[in-house]
């Protein structure tokens, strides 16, 4: 193990490296969430059930995080309710100070950490070579960052390798994909309030978290003290605990980003299929399983290398081509308005129905 020169880089900058890294990944995750929500906003008027489902998953993750916050702080959960439109979690005992602060922080950050935490556990069993933490660490800003990036890079490569060679006839793989999509549709910032808010974007969440920290500056100091303390402990014991801990937080963000990306692709697929005439709209959705099944049967009789990857590729290509062709030749010819015509008002102020 290399000797550790104690200069300002090690003592001051190195612990900051991973805080910056994790925060950057979390910001990236917020941007992806906003992209998903924008796409969902386009679909909402035609796919109300899908919008309600994503809302439900979001509320479920938020309520679980809220309940976890109350459990961790020993406040207890007196009431737990989740519905499509709202969730409600009430503590048994209202606590103040650091307990209340911690439970609120878990409410704001929980939806990004708790569901992805379960997914990380699942991926540990599916991705056999995705988890590698560097054994030796040089405790400088750059090296700490390198180790952090290396861990994330290994995991991401492993994850994409798995996704690109997934066996869709394997129930474990299919379930993994479904859970990942479920996660991608549900990760979103928390919102708690009596009034119904139509849009909770990433700026709203940033503002919430910032205000939460600014309100209690002492806690920020405590947070940094704990982080630096943990770093120096790792340094003293010459272990990589500090990097490992922040790498896990980074992995959670990476899982979240991949899940959001997949959810975005799904939403984009639904959005594209909406452009096709109603009679043909199901064809792209049927192309997915039929093309995959056909290619797997073909490769069963004509064996070759990397059958799973080729099958997925053919399935995706076939679906994209079929969708594009249908959009070109079977485009829906319905006249569309931004809102229902019967609710449109004319200049004289009288409500009139659309003429047939």
């Amino acid at each position: 193990m290399a000797t550790v020169p104690l200069d300002y880089d090690v003592l001051l900058l190195a612990p900051l490296a991973l805080i910056i890294g994790v925060t950057a990944l979390w910001l990236l995750e917020l941007i992806f969430i906003d992209l998903d929500k924008r796409m969902l906003g386009k679909l909402r008027h035609k796919h109300e059930a899908l919008a309600r489902f994503t809302n439900f998953t979001g509320v479920l993750f938020q309520a679980l995080s809220h309940a976890l916050g109350y459990t961790v702080t020993h406040s207890g959960v007196a009431h737990f309710q989740v519905s499509v439109h709202y969730g409600k979690v009430e503590p048994k005992r209202e606590k103040q100070g650091v307990f209340a602060w911690t439970s609120t922080l878990l409410l704001y950050l929980g939806p990004f950490l708790v569901p992805t935490g379960f997914m990380l556990l699942y991926s540990y069993f599916v991705l056999t070579k995705g988890f590698s933490f560097p054994a030796s660490v040089q405790y400088t800003f750059v090296h700490t960052f390198e180790n952090f990036g290396g861990t994330l890079s290994t995991f991401t490569q492993s994850m994409f390798r798995f996704l690109s060679s997934m066996d869709l006839l394997n129930p474990v793989h299919v379930f993994f994909l479904l859970v990942l999509l479920f996660l991608g549709l549900g990760i979103r910032p928390s919102y708690i309030g009596e009034e119904r808010k139509e849009k909770v974007n990433f700026l709203y969440d940033l503002k919430n978290v910032t205000m939460h920290f600014i309100k209690k500056p002492l806690y920020i100091l405590v947070f940094f003290a704990v982080v630096y303390g943990f770093f120096f402990l790792s340094l003293a014991l010459k272990t990589n605990w500090y990097v490992a801990l922040f790498s896990v937080l980074g992995l959670l963000s990476v899982i979240g980003i991949i899940a959001l990306l997949l959810a975005f692709l799904l939403l984009a697929f639904v959005w594209a299929s909406d452009k096709i005439a109603p009679g043909w709209r199901l064809v792209p959705f049927l192309t997915l399983p039929i093309s995959y099944g056909a290619v797997r049967v073909l490769f069963f009789y004509v064996p070759r290398d990397n059958i799973l990857g080729w099958s997925l590729l053919v399935m995706i290509l076939a679906t994209v081509v079929v969708t594009l062709l249908l959009i070109k030749y079977k485009k829906t010819n319905r006249f569309k308005t931004a809102g229902p015509m019967k609710h449109m008002r004319v200049a004289d102020g009288k409500k009139r129905a659309s003429q047939k």
């Binding site: 059930a49 499509v84 066996d167 006839l169 394997n170």
Partner: protein, 366 residues
């Protein structure tokens, strides 16, 4: 629904049938068969357990049948419906029968696994079709007078409930219902139709010892909870759009149930009629010496009070005193009775109008 089935002045407000996803519990049974068939096929052909299962051609079938039956028992216990178990038993026996009938029992393990996969898919598709037929047999008519529930694939079932006989309305909407906008409404009648009970029992036994000494213990417990429950033919099962239908039914019930004000009015009228009848009986007694049994058309009360006792005084001086006393008591009782606020206000308004008219007349005369 034919027109002749409608009552006089009856109009159908809404015709409903269950949402396609409202029978998800039944559809889930079919989904499980298909998923488990795929899993068994995958276990034999592509998983690391393939070698173990290839030991005997019957292993995949035994595994498939066992899990299916165990799931059937668990589902039956949860749903308190043993037909689920027997349904799965029929699926297993059907598969077994087909294997022997076609002499496929001596084939390889992979063939048996493929047979299980194809058989599961066919059985599931058949199951989905039966569930869809069952769903389509339900029809609910919400008219302006009653709710009619009709259905039945082979046996026709029908229930009718009038709005004034509905004592309670129970509504429920699961997560699927909330997402897709459907839900179930159970109108509970005064007779208790629509109420059921959830029962749960647990029991266990243990036997210790061999042939000489045995110890046997049994522990059990039961709980019964009264809950709104009805068969899908006798409730508005999985109706869409739930909120609108719920509001419609609530409004209909509300419009057919007498309010507190109406009840008070009816009670007051009854008391008035009772007193008037008694007074007429007394008047008749005065006139002829025996009470009248028939109801007499009402006359202004004040005239009766003023005129008739005077006549009776002349004819029956001794009896007249008693009758007059009784009549006075009735009049007092009538005065003590308070009409509801609205009626008092109306009377006050009428009095004020009369006073104003009198004043006008006086001015005109002056």
């Amino acid at each position: 629904m034919e027109k002749k089935e409608l009552l006089k002045n009856e109009q159908v407000e809404r015709l409903l049938s269950p949402h396609p996803l409202s029978f998800m519990k039944l559809q889930a049974l079919c989904i499980f068969v298909i998923v488990w068939g795929i899993v068994v096929w995958w276990l034999v052909n592509s998983s690391q357990f393939g070698n173990w299962l290839s030991g005997n051609p019957w292993f995949p079938f035994i595994l498939w049948a066992l899990v299916l039956l165990i799931f059937g028992v668990i589902a039956s216990l949860i749903a308190i419906q043993w037909s689920i178990f027997f349904l799965y038993l029929m699926v297993v026996l059907g598969g077994l029968g087909l294997l022997f009938w076609q002499h496929w029992e001596n084939n390889s393990t992979s063939f048996i696994a493929l047979f299980i996969l194809v058989y599961s898919i066919i059985v599931s598709i058949a199951g989905f079709l039966i569930v869809e037929l069952y769903r389509r047999s339900h029809k609910y008519y919400i008219t302006n007078l009653r709710i009619m529930f009709k259905g039945g694939v082979l046996t026709k079932r029908e229930r009718t409930i009038r709005y004034d006989k509905i004592s309670d309305i129970n509504s429920r909407q699961g997560i699927f219902g909330q997402i897709f906008g459907f839900g179930t409404i159970i109108p509970i009648s005064e007779s208790g139709f629509g109420l059921g009970s959830d029962k749960s029992m647990a029991g266990g036994g243990v036997e210790v010892g061999g042939t000489k000494a045995r110890l046997f213990g049994f522990a059990g417990g039961g709980k019964e909870v009264q809950t709104p429950i009805a068969r899908s033919y006798y409730e508005l099962h999985g109706v869409y759009p739930f909120k609108d239908v719920q509001k419609l039914v609530e409004n209909m019930v509300q419009s057919h149930v007498p309010t507190q004000y109406q009840k008070e009015q009816v009670e007051f009228s009854k008391q008035q009629v009772d007193i008037q009848t008694q007074m007429r009986d007394l008047l008749h007694q005065q006139g002829r010496g025996k009470p009248r049994t028939k109801t007499v058309k009402q006359k202004p009360e004040e005239d009766e009070q003023e005129e008739e006792p005077e006549k009776e005084e002349e004819a029956f001086p001794q009896e007249q005193v008693d009758i007059q006393k009784q009549m006075q008591q009735l009049l007092k009782k009538q005065r003590v009775m308070k009409p509801t606020k609205d009626e008092t206000e109306e009377e006050e308004e009428a009095e004020e109008e009369e006073e104003e008219e009198k004043k006008k007349d006086e001015r005109e005369v002056a």
